[in-house]
């Protein structure tokens, strides 16, 4: 394992374009699913894309005011020929809004205690993250013209509530890749009087990048 911390290894640009398309399709699917669950009209902003490599991880911010504030990460991963980790990331504010939407209670995100989240809160967050993640995976599948087999699809989503650096670096160190590329898709969701700002991060492993490129362009 050689994590490259000091230089950037760029993704092929045609693959970036392809992944952007995946992001657009995924965001649309995910929004429809959310509208169903929350029983609300949902509008979307245009997705914003970023390609991050390891060196960016310590400076990345997805909307929390303090750098020691945690984010909620819902992680799913595929097995098999195409390996992706999909992370759905909620900042403090968005987490508060989601809990407000599912519980109907008025929750002030600034007073939200992440260590004291109830089992109900945790499973609501995990479920909503999981739905977003799975719709992005479906979009990836559609785009690559593959159908993930049942055994390749994620089983249990995991919820980790931590600072972004701790999660992303651990993820990178645990992958056997020389480089870790993280494609982040930020797409604001407007639901009633609330704005949710989830970030979806796609992390393909190195072989998957090569295989996806072959599939798409040869």
């Amino acid at each position: 394992v050689v994590l490259n911390l000091s230089e950037k290894n760029d993704l092929p640009s045609e693959l970036i374009d392809a992944l952007q398309e995946v992001g657009n399709i995924g965001a649309g699917h995910a929004a429809n699913a959310l509208a169903d669950i929350l029983n609300r009209r949902i509008d979307l902003s245009l997705p914003k894309f970023n390609i991050l490599s390891l060196e960016d991880l310590s400076t990345v911010s997805w909307g929390n005011k303090n750098e020691w504030d945690p984010y909620a990460f819902i992680m799913v991963e595929t097995k098999g020929f195409f390996k992706f980790v999909v992370l759905v990331i909620f900042n403090k504010e968005t987490l508060g809004s989601i809990l407000k939407l599912v519980s109907g209670e008025n929750i002030d995100p600034t007073n939200l205690d992440f260590d004291e989240l109830s089992k109900f809160d945790q499973s609501a967050i995990t479920e909503i993250g999981n739905i977003l993640a799975l719709h992005y995976l479906t979009a990836i599948g559609d785009f690559l013209e593959i159908k993930f087999k049942d055994e390749e699809l994620p089983t249990q989503p995991s919820l980790v509530i931590e600072t972004s650096e701790a999660v992303l670096l651990s993820l990178a160190a645990n992958s056997s890749a020389d480089f870790m590329h993280l494609i982040s898709i930020e797409c604001d969701i407007f639901a009633s009087d609330m704005i949710l700002k989830p970030v979806v991060a796609l992390i393909p492993d190195n072989n998957t990048i090569i295989r996806a490129r072959e599939r798409l362009f040869s």
Binding site: V1, V2, L3, L5, S6, L54, L57, S58, N66, E67, W68, D69, P70, M75, E77, K79, V85, D113, F114, D115, Q156, S158, V160, I161, E162, T163, S164, E165, A166, V167, L169, S170, L171, A173, N174, S175, S176
Partner: protein, 171 residues
């Protein structure tokens, strides 16, 4: 006690992933978000000098050219650099207080944890310590939660926080 209580934030120096940094008071060395990574600190009380490495991976397993500030990346290159610092300053190794913090298992039951990096990081560091006959003074290792740390160079104390800024321990 919150994360920055009684601390002048302008004195904080970040030790980013793979970095190794040394300093003296009034500065405070900081790592935000240690997950499976491990922080090694060496502290020399008499001169109030301290150094901290932010170790990301176990021993280096292939050639990978590291600039001096990135010697903290692997367990073996980090320990070697810490020893160099001790020698360069003519400190007696027996006068150095050594602490280890981190190595949490962040993802339970995940295929992304097959390499079990957190435990291997800790083991690798301990093997290197054994080689150089380094005694560990205090540790705060393992578990499933990430940590953020402040290494106070005035007294060598390390404050450990969980995400959100709650104090977990002082060692």
């Amino acid at each position: 006690l919150s994360f920055f209580e009684n601390i002048d934030t302008s004195l904080l120096k970040h030790v980013l992933a793979g970095n190794i940094k040394h300093d003296k008071p009034p500065y405070i060395l900081q790592i935000l978000g240690l997950g499976s990574c491990v922080a090694i600190t060496f502290y020399h009380q008499k001169t109030k000098s301290g150094i901290m490495a932010h170790v990301v991976l176990p021993a280096r397993d292939r050639d990978d050219i590291l600039t001096p500030e990135f010697k903290g990346k692997y367990a073996n290159t980090a320990v070697e650099e810490l020893i160099n610092w001790t020698k360069k300053n003519k400190f007696d190794l027996s006068e150095i207080k050594v602490k280890l913090v981190g190595g949490a298992k962040m993802f339970k039951n995940s295929v992304s944890d097959v390499l079990n990096i957190s435990e291997r990081n800790i083991e690798s560091i301990k093997e290197e310590f054994f080689k150089y006959n380094i005694k560990i003074d205090k540790t705060e290792l393992g578990g499933t939660k990430g940590r953020s740390i402040l290494f106070n160079l005035e007294n060598g104390e390390i404050r450990i926080f969980h995400a959100g800024g709650k104090l977990k321990a002082i060692i």
